[in-house]
């Protein structure tokens, strides 16, 4: 187990190193010149060159990359070109909001997805099942931007139950979590439904029924624990999905997370911030996958860690 963990951690570090390299090279290849962006349109060529020198942008790619890596190893992610603030402090001030939204969206998608999946499986091929599956189809296909605006319009503007975007209280959290969780809820309800149906058809269920167990005990005690396994493994992978959704949802609801930070940095070629946000999200995705792999054998002893 520990050997496995160490090996996986080492692999994760390698993956992250690869990501820094790819991102760095891509940003280096972008034809737009950050120095020119900083210098403004009134600048002379000499001024632009001066800025390029100050930021070390005239150095060869390898030198720049090495400087970035050695800084990163010491916990220094550099300073934003535009805001001039430390990238680490910019990210630190926004990460809690993103994490809160992400955790709350995971809870939302699990509650919604599992409930819908279980109900649909138990009412298979009946109108309830059909309408729930249509709902999950819509949840998967609808753009998050549209869902967010729609929820805001109905529940915040018309009904006045929630504030119109913003951050701070539990009421602020509800609509963004639902918007972000809806996509996952759609997937999970479909997975849970088919997983339940598969288990329901297995021998253990027939045996349990033959023993005279109540329907509730069969479903709660035997079917659900078996059916839920593939879904747990998915949650870790989900974090990657959330990282893309979070940019959209945060911008609709004015949620002060890293998605918002990333979006602005990309528009203004603020390379240190783009690198920083990429690193943080990549770390989250890699860790999520790692945790999913580590948790799986705990739930299902048939899966072994090697």
């Amino acid at each position: 187990m520990w050997g496995y963990l160490l090996r996986r951690l080492f692999e994760s570090a390698l993956i992250l190193l690869g990501i820094t390299f790819v991102t760095f090279v891509l940003l280096y290849l972008v034809p737009a010149d950050p120095a020119r962006q900083i210098a403004g349109r009134s600048a002379t060529a000499a001024t632009v060159d001066n800025i390029r020198n100050q930021l070390g942008l005239n150095d060869p790619l390898v030198v720049q990359y090495w400087r970035y890596l050695t800084g990163l190893a010491q916990g220094d992610m550099g300073r934003s070109y535009l805001q001039r603030a430390e990238v680490s402090s910019l990210i630190a001030s926004r990460l809690p909001a993103s994490l809160l939204l992400m955790v709350s969206a995971i809870v939302t998608e699990l509650i919604m997805g599992l409930t819908i999946g279980v109900v649909a499986a138990l009412r298979r091929n009946r109108p309830v099942d059909h309408s729930l599956m249509i709902f999950s189809f819509v949840a998967i296909s609808a753009p998050q931007f549209v869902i967010g605006i729609l929820l805001l319009y109905v529940f915040a503007v018309q009904l006045g139950w929630f504030p119109i975007g913003g951050y701070g209280t539990f009421a602020h959290l509800v609509l963004p979590s639902i918007t972000l969780g809806l996509l996952g809820a759609g997937w999970y309800s479909r997975m849970m439904r088919s997983s339940m149906i598969e288990v329901l058809n297995q021998d253990l269920v027939r045996t349990a029924r033959a023993k005279g167990l109540s329907k509730l005990r069969i479903v709660a005690g035997h079917v659900m624990p078996n059916a839920i396994l593939p879904i747990i493994a998915m949650i870790g992978i989900d974090i990657g999905l959330f990282m893309s959704g979070i940019v959209v949802v945060e911008s609709v609801f004015g949620w002060p997370g890293i998605g918002q930070l990333a979006w602005q940095a990309i528009q203004r070629i603020d390379i240190p911030v783009i690198m920083g946000v990429t690193m943080v999200s990549a770390t989250a995705i890699v860790l999520g996958n790692l945790i999913a792999d580590l948790v799986a054998p705990l739930i299902d002893p048939r899966i072994k860690t090697k």
Binding site: V30, P31, A32, D33, R36, Q37, I38, A39, G40, R41, S42, A43, T44, A45, A46, T47, V48, N50, I51, Q54, R79, L82, Q83, R84, A85, L90, S93, R94, A97, I149, L152, Y153, A156, V157, P163, I164, G165, G166, Y167, G168, E250, S251, V252, F253, G254, W255, P256, G257, Q260, L261, Q264, R268, I269
Partner: protein
């Protein structure tokens, strides 16, 4: 040395911008307002901030020696009690008002002026505005990292600063009204270091009371502001991170007063057609021109007849209609609200028949193939398609190259890359209300260098000399304006651009706040002049 009062610049701008706005200077103080924005504020450091969102915020937090009458392009003294210019136009003397203070309570002295100007031009500061101060003596050596400070700026006594220029420049008053010329306290800058943009200390009408990144900023009234009775509001709250569509919902709900990003294009017709908004929508001109550049160093655009034909081929009215009339058709580089605009100039009429004939006479009876570069954000690709269609009417096949903003700018800055560029989303909005601001970087020889903004690569040395001459006409406002007017008319004879339209600004405000319409579309404070808007409940 004889000095002349520089009422000239003020008078000339005033005449051009029409009547003075009826700003109610005696409006009651009190109340508050909420403004929404999608993007977080990048910085509030006046030496660094250079986007339209923080431009106006910085104007409320900081003051320079010069400023503008609210709602107009009329220059006025701000922190300066007096401003004198020597007859040769080279020595500019400013005397500070008495008893003006920074937000930290310290009185402003002439040393602060010198420090602030040296800070913005110091290469270490990496200010996007440093280039504006190029006329100050000693700029070149100081800005390239040599020498000790700006030799042209000298402190005469506690209240007096004398600035020597290396060439006479009639725009210097405007330059001193730019945010980049704001006066900052050295001790606060040094204490905050690189974080000064997050902890700004100025002498403006408001001071920063709170900044929660990604959420909100709160400005509070600066009680010791040097203008009595200003600002009107007790506080302004900026709610950050709200999509323009969501911002509109907030305003409908009474949770916000002004959408900082304007009326979202998707809702434009719905909002402007809704009677409920009738009293709340304000329309104003903008110091902006959208144009098509034709690279005068690339065939076939090296032929002036071809460029003139292009000018006659574009149906500008249709393009303006396409963007829901959020602009007015243009026929010259300067926008109508800019001094030097020639209202009598008729420009090139839309006449595809004549244009085709001109092309044939120039040796292109069957037209030619070319490329049109455009920024890939709506509505610009749609506008490019309209241009493409108009050109096909005269036999010109234009392939559209729709790219990210930075890539289009990069292509324009190369001599042989982009035959045609539609400027929308990139250029050109004036930095200050003076006709010279539409020349140097975008039409002058100096801008026709690699990485420059003169995407036509147009360089007419005769006109360049006349531009230099016009800028040296200190204290001859009317003559100078005439000189510039003639320069732009003559440029149009060379036709390096097809001027297409001048954008109009449309904004909206709730019933909770009021003020003259001009304040909500202030040409200098974009999107609104925070200092003079008042709360209706305070009345």
């Amino acid at each position: 040395m004889k000095t002349i009062l520089l009422s000239g610049i003020a008078g000339f701008a005033l005449a051009a911008s029409g009547a003075l706005a009826q700003v109610d200077e005696d409006a009651p103080q009190g109340g508050e307002m909420a403004v929404t924005y999608q993007d977080d504020v990048a910085t509030l450091d006046p030496a660094i901030g250079y986007d339209w969102q923080n431009w106006s915020m910085i104007k409320s937090l900081f003051d320079g020696l010069m400023g503008y009458e609210p709602g107009t392009t009329t220059l006025r003294n701000e922190l300066a009690e007096s401003y004198d210019v020597s007859e040769d136009g080279l020595t500019h003397t400013f005397v500070l008002k008495d008893g003006i203070k920074f937000h930290n309570g310290r009185e402003i002295t002439a040393e602060d002026v010198k420090y602030s100007l040296e800070r913005v031009t110091n290469p270490e500061t990496r200010s996007p505005g440093a280039g504006f101060f190029g006329m100050i003596e000693g700029f070149d050596s100081w800005n390239t990292g040599e020498g000790e400070g700006l030799s042209g700026v000298s402190v005469i006594d506690d209240k007096t600063v004398e600035i020597t220029l290396s060439r006479p420049d009639a725009t210097f008053g405007h330059v001193m009204a730019l945010n980049f010329a704001s006066i900052v306290p050295q001790e606060a800058v040094e204490e905050a270091g690189e974080d000064f943009g997050r902890q700004p200390v100025g002498s403006g009408a408001f001071r920063l009371a709170e900044w929660t990144p990604g959420q909100q900023l709160v400005f509070e009234r600066f009680e010791e502001y040097h203008r009595a009775g200003v600002p009107k509001l007790d506080s302004v709250t900026f709610n950050i991170g709200l999509d323009p569509t969501v911002a509109l919902l907030r305003i409908q709900n009474g949770d916000a007063d002004i959408p900082g990003d304007g009326i979202p294009p998707a809702q434009f017709l719905q909002v402007t057609g809704d009677a409920a908004y009738d009293d709340q929508i304000v329309e104003g001109g903008q110091l902006q021109t959208g144009y098509i550049t034709m690279n005068t160093q690339m065939a076939p655009f090296d032929d002036v007849e071809v460029r003139r034909a292009m000018n006659m081929a574009i149906n500008k009215d249709r393009i303006v209609q396409m963007i829901n009339n959020r602009a007015v058709p243009a026929n010259q580089p300067l926008p109508p609200t800019m001094p030097g605009y020639d209202a009598d100039y008729e420009g090139y009429a839309y006449d595809p028949e004549a244009a085709r004939q001109m092309l044939a006479d120039a040796g292109f009876p069957d037209g030619f193939e070319t490329e049109l570069y455009v920024m890939n954000v709506d509505p610009n690709p749609r506008i490019a398609q309209a241009i493409q269609q108009d050109l096909s009417e005269i036999g010109v096949t234009a392939q559209i190259r729709s790219l990210a903003q930075a890539n289009v700018i990069a292509a324009g800055g190369e001599a042989d890359q982009a035959p045609m560029i539609w400027s929308g989303g990139m250029a050109w909005i004036a930095d200050f209300p003076d006709p010279s601001n539409f020349y140097g970087p975008i039409l002058g020889c100096a801008g026709a260098t690699p990485g420059g903004w003169n995407w036509s690569w147009y360089c007419n040395e005769d006109i360049d000399a006349r531009a230099t001459e016009a800028d040296a006409m200190v204290g001859e406002a009317a003559a100078r304006e005439d000189a510039w007017r003639q320069i732009y008319v003559d440029i149009m004879a060379d036709a390096p651009w097809v001027p297409v339209f001048n954008e109009q600004r449309f904004t909206l405000h709730s019933d909770n706040v009021a003020g003259d319409d001009s304040l909500f579309v202030d040409p200098v404070h974009i999107p609104v002049n925070y200092d003079y808007i008042y709360a209706t409940e305070a009345q």
